[in-house]
Each structure stands twice: as structure tokens, then as C-alpha cells.
């Protein structure tokens, strides 16, 4: 950490300006603050400040039963409640040794890939909005996201706080009509991605503002524990769907897009390319989904008492590695409940990416990380 005196030595006394960006700055996507020191327009120091949305999620979950934590996980990354549910359920399933029926595994993949799609669509929309492309790209993205949320609403009763998965399966089954609606949506998605890509991919302003900005070198990305599209934009081939093959991801054919430069443009393109792979997975899952039960009848949802022990379960959430670490002491509530929040750890390198860039670039670099404060602050 550079001290103020050292900063003065760089620029001469009194020439460093301290700007507090946030917590109510619209580009921070919530209540996130950056303590920025500037020399003119140039960033010489940047410290992220968290905690404005802290409600000690982990403690609340440790005081309740295993089941009662599921609706709370919805409120971590509130754009992706389905993947949060899945990560928590997979940790409990490991801890208690539960099996998930085949049909439930398929539905989990379908809803999670839909979540990934709407998250990425939202992110590219917001990123372009941050760059000054006011309105249009964001509305295009939200039009598509809306269709996914409608599907979630008809399946679970809620658009964003889905509370859908249970350890050992799912809360409710989906109907054949619902699956047909998803199929119809999935056939339309490639057109949306084409349209969105053609709209701005080769746009001169977009390229000028994003290429070579906020470069994250490969070695730093690995050492800092960066995960998700941000890691892969730096050229590291690490997708937990491929590495762990959790659930039934070994049955689907899809590729892992990789970036070359690790700049904002690569991170932007990574989302567009991943949306295409998501469509491929959705097509295969919708083709192969079998009939059958969606819940293991032997699982006791209420009053689950796993044996004394611990488990770490992780999945590839749209934002990176979402992990849950649980310690059981043999009672009905977890002794330790820990969330490994991907976006908070992805912010470790925010300062490294922003140094020597202009203030205006900070907004874009932060936008390309894809943060949600519900998860960072917990």
C-alpha cells in the first residue's frame, strides 16, 4: 500500500486528489465504494471499500436449519438465485451423502444455464451503458432477460428469488408445457446474440475504449484466485463445469472460450461467446431430459442432521467459482457456514487493473468484473 507521503513524492505535495467513488455512484452497481487517489486524471491508488450491505449472512445461516438457508442464498447474488441454490445444495449433498435423481439434474442444468444467459446479457448491457451507450443496448439485453425471468416466474412463483432447489432434488417439477416454452425461447436466442454482437462488436468507440484497457496478466489472475469469465479472458482454461464435471456436465458438448489479452474487450467478448455455449448446453439438455422423480424420497428436508464432518462444494456460477464450506457438528444447523464469493475475490486485482488509467476507465474496468453487492458484502 502506497502511503500518502509516498504519493506526494511522486507528484509534489498537494497535487494528489482523493475522490470517493460511491457508495451511491450509479456505475458501482450497488453500494460499493472506491477510494481513488488521482494525479490529474491518472489513478495512482485505488482501494475498494465494502460492507455497506453487510448483514452477516453466514451467522444468520448458522443459527437456522440447513433447509432455511436456501432462501437466504437467493439473496447473495440476487441476479442468479438458481446457481446460488445449486452451490449450497451441492455442498449439503456432499456433507450428507445425498443423491439427486436424473430428471432433477437435467432441470438444474436447464435453469442454471438460463441464469447464466440472463446474467451475461445483463452484464454486457450494463457495461455498454457504463461506456455511454445510453439505453439501447441495455434495453435489448433486458428484453431477453425478461423472457427468462418470465419462465422462472411460471416455474417457481418468483422472478428473482426463486428458492427452487433442495438438497436431494428440486422443490417442484416442471411441466411439459414449460419445457416447450423453454425450447421456443432457446431457438430464438442465437438470433439475439447475433444481433447484439453485430450491433457493437466492431464499433470504433467500443474498441478504442476497451482494447488494452484494464489488462489482467495471466500469472496475476491465477495467483489472485480470479475465477469465471474474467479468468478465462486472461487465457487460463479453467471452467469448473469441465474440471469437476459436477452434476451431469460430463454429458454435454460445449467449448470453453478463452481470451488472449485479458483486457476489457476480451472480458466483454467472453460473455457473448459463453452465451453461445450456454445455448448449446440448453439444446442438449432439453433434447435428453428424461421423465422421473425430482426428489429423493428418503431425504429429510426438515431436521436434516448430517454426520459430524465437513464438506466444500463448488460450482461454476456465471460470475466465477461459487463455493460453500460447511462444518456439521451433528445438530440440525451448520456449525460453520461459509460462502466463497467469486466477485469479492475478483475485486482483489481491481487496483492493479486500474493503475495509470483515467478515472473514466475505472468505471468500465469495474463494469467488466461483473459485481453484485449482495454477494460481496453478504
Amino acid at each position: 500500500m502506497t502511503s500518502l507521503a509516498e504519493l506526494d513524492a511522486i507528484a509534489g505535495p498537494g497535487e494528489i486528489m482523493e475522490v470517493s467513488m460511491g457508495p451511491h455512484h450509479p456505475s458501482t452497481h450497488g453500494v460499493f465504494r472506491m477510494d481513488v487517489r488521482l494525479e490529474g486524471e491518472r489513478v495512482v491508488r485505488l482501494k475498494p471499500v465494502f460492507g455497506y450491505l453487510h448483514r452477516n449472512h453466514e451467522k444468520i445461516a448458522e443459527n437456522g436449519a440447513y433447509l432455511s438457508a436456501i432462501p437466504y442464498t437467493d439473496r447473495l447474488d440476487y441476479l442468479c438465485s438458481m446457481t446460488n441454490n445449486w452451490a449450497y445444495c451441492s455442498a449439503v449433498e456432499k456433507l450428507a451423502g445425498l443423491q439427486v435423481p436424473e430428471r432433477a439434474e437435467y432441470i438444474r442444468v436447464i435453469v442454471s444455464e438460463l441464469t447464466r444467459f440472463q446474467n451475461h446479457a445483463g452484464l454486457v448491457g450494463f457495461l455498454l451503458q457504463d461506456m455511454g451507450a445510453s439505453g439501447t443496448p441495455l434495453m435489448y439485453a433486458f428484453r431477453e432477460r425478461e423472457k427468462v425471468l418470465d419462465l422462472f416466474e411460471s416455474l417457481t412463483g418468483s422472478r428473482m428469488m426463486c428458492n427452487y432447489m433442495r438438497f436431494g432434488g428440486l422443490r417442484v417439477d416442471c411441466s411439459a408445457a414449460w419445457l416447450d416454452e423453454v425450447r421456443q425461447l432457446v431457438t430464438r436466442l442465437p438470433r439475439f446474440i447475433d444481433e447484439f454482437e453485430n450491433l457493437l462488436r466492431a464499433n470504433e468507440i467500443l474498441m478504442a475504449r476497451t482494447q488494452g484497457v484494464g489488462v489482467l496478466p495471466r500469472e496475476l489472475a491465477i495467483s489472485a484466485g480470479i475465477t469465471g469469465p474474467m479468468l478465462r479472458a486472461s487465457g487460463v482454461n479453467y471452467d469448473i463445469r469441465k474440471v469437476d464435471q459436477y452434476g451431469i456436465y460430463d454429458r454435454f458438448e460445449f467449448r470453453v472460450p478463452l481470451g488472449d489479452h485479458g483486457d476489457v474487450y476480451d472480458r466483454y467478448m467472453m460473455r457473448l461467446l459463453e452465451m453461445r455455449e450456454t445455448v448449446k448446453i440448453l439444446e442438449q439438455a432439453l433434447r435428453d431430459i428424461p421423465e422421473g422423480p425430482i426428489m429423493d424420497p428418503k431425504v429429510r428436508l426438515r431436521g436434516l442432521r448430517p454426520k459430524v464432518g465437513e464438506a466444500y462444494g463448488r460450482i461454476e456460477s456465471p460470475k466465477g467459482e461459487l463455493g460453500f464450506f460447511l462444518i456439521s457438528d451433528g445438530t440440525t444447523s451448520p456449525y460453520r457456514y461459509r460462502v466463497r464469493p467469486p466477485t469479492m475475490i475478483n475485486l482483489t486485482v481491481l487496483e492493479d487493473m486500474c493503475l495509470n488509467h483515467n478515472v473514466a476507465d475505472v468505471v468500465i474496468i469495474l463494469g467488466s468484473v461483473d459485481i453484485v453487492l449482495g454477494e460481496i458484502d453478504r
Partner: protein
């Protein structure tokens, strides 16, 4: 995810690679069977560097870092003790008396690290380190110099559990505000009553 080596072999490998380190296998009774390795804090940093640099292991990715609070425990047992009891007439007789003995085991704070390898695509190796007690000696070596990814997470364990990570480049509170005094994730934390207004003067 694949386990790299059985825990016992991993222990032997680390002890051979880091002279002087004492590693204990911490068995996990749950079906997940994710056994972990308890490392003595003195050699924590050296063990971490060994795991990261070893050509076979290459644990380059520190995924999850967290604290766990284990309270002081008190076990009571009834013991029969022979005692000389003085009678009313002045004679002394030996009698067996039941006594309740309490043994206190001091609690400790624990830091747990989940390590993976992005290059070799294997893991996890789970490291644990324990502090000497829960108050004055809650110190552990920071592993942030080995993996940058531990930076914010160690700060969080410091903030919520009060584990002081020696060698951390920027150890400040992260989620609670700077003037806050207690550690809210500890098991014996008592939240202030709702009607108490805490007024803070600049810390």
C-alpha cells in the same frame, strides 16, 4: 475434482519437503471424505510455498480461506477419591468420596485454506492452522504473500473472527466499520440490544 494423494501420503510428502514441519491428518467423518492437513503455524508459510512450487502438486490457486471458532470446552467427570474424614469424636476414618472434576480445554481459532491447481486441474488440498488461544495469542502467519487470492479473505477472517495474520500487507477490517470492537462471527458474540444506541467517537 480428483483427490491427488491419500491424506497420509500427502502428510509424508510435505514433511519430507519441509524439514521440521509437523503435519497431522484431520480426518473427516462425513461422506464427502475431504480430509484436511493440520499444519503447525510456524511452518505454515513454508508448507504453503512448498505446495505451490512442488512440480507434482502445483497448487497455484488458493480458492477459499475462512476462519472457524472453537470455544473453550469443559468436560466434567466424576472421580472417586479417598479422603480422611474427621468424626465427631475426634477419630479419623478414611472414606471414599465422589468428586466432580472439571477439565478445561482452551478453545482456539482455526484458519482453513482450500487449495486447487489450475495448471494440473486437481484438488482440493485443505490446510488448517490453529491459534494458541482465542484471545491474546490469536496469531497465524499470513499466506497472502504466497497467494494474492487470500488477501481479502484473510482480512475477512481478521474482521469477523479476530485472527491476526502476521505478514499480511494490509490487515484492516473489511466488512465491519473501522471503529467496531468485537468479532461478530465468534460463537460467543452477543449482539447489542436493539434499543441501545452506540455512539462512537472517532476511533
Amino acid at each position: 475434482m480428483m483427490a491427488i494423494l491419500p491424506a497420509e501420503e500427502m502428510k509424508a510428502k510435505i514433511e519430507a519437503g519441509v524439514p521440521g514441519a509437523s503435519v497431522t491428518v484431520h480426518q473427516n467423518g462425513s461422506p464427502s471424505a475431504q480430509h484436511s492437513l493440520l499444519v503447525d503455524p510456524e511452518h505454515g508459510r513454508a508448507v504453503a510455498e512448498f505446495l505451490r512450487n512442488d512440480a507434482e502438486l502445483k497448487m497455484d490457486f488458493c480458492s477459499n480461506v475462512t476462519g472457524v471458532d472453537w470455544l473453550d470446552t469443559e468436560t466434567t467427570e466424576k472421580v472417586k477419591v479417598k479422603k480422611t474424614v474427621g468424626g465427631p469424636d475426634g477419630t479419623e476414618t478414611e472414606q471414599e468420596v465422589e468428586e466432580v472434576r472439571k477439565t478445561k480445554t482452551p478453545g482456539y481459532l482455526e484458519a482453513v485454506y482450500h487449495l486447487f491447481s489450475m495448471e494440473k486441474k486437481h484438488g482440493p488440498i485443505i490446510l488448517r492452522m490453529r491459534t494458541a488461544n482465542r484471545s491474546a495469542q490469536a496469531h497465524l502467519p499470513s499466506l497472502t504473500p504466497v497467494w494474492r487470492g487470500a488477501e481479502f479473505q484473510e482480512r475477512e477472517a481478521f474482521d469477523l473472527y479476530g485472527i491476526v495474520f502476521d505478514g499480511h500487507p494490509d490487515l484492516r477490517r473489511i466488512l465491519m466499520w473501522d471503529g467496531f470492537v468485537d468479532y461478530p462471527m465468534r460463537k460467543d458474540y452477543v449482539p447489542p440490544a436493539d434499543d441501545v444506541v452506540v455512539v462512537e467517537v472517532n476511533p
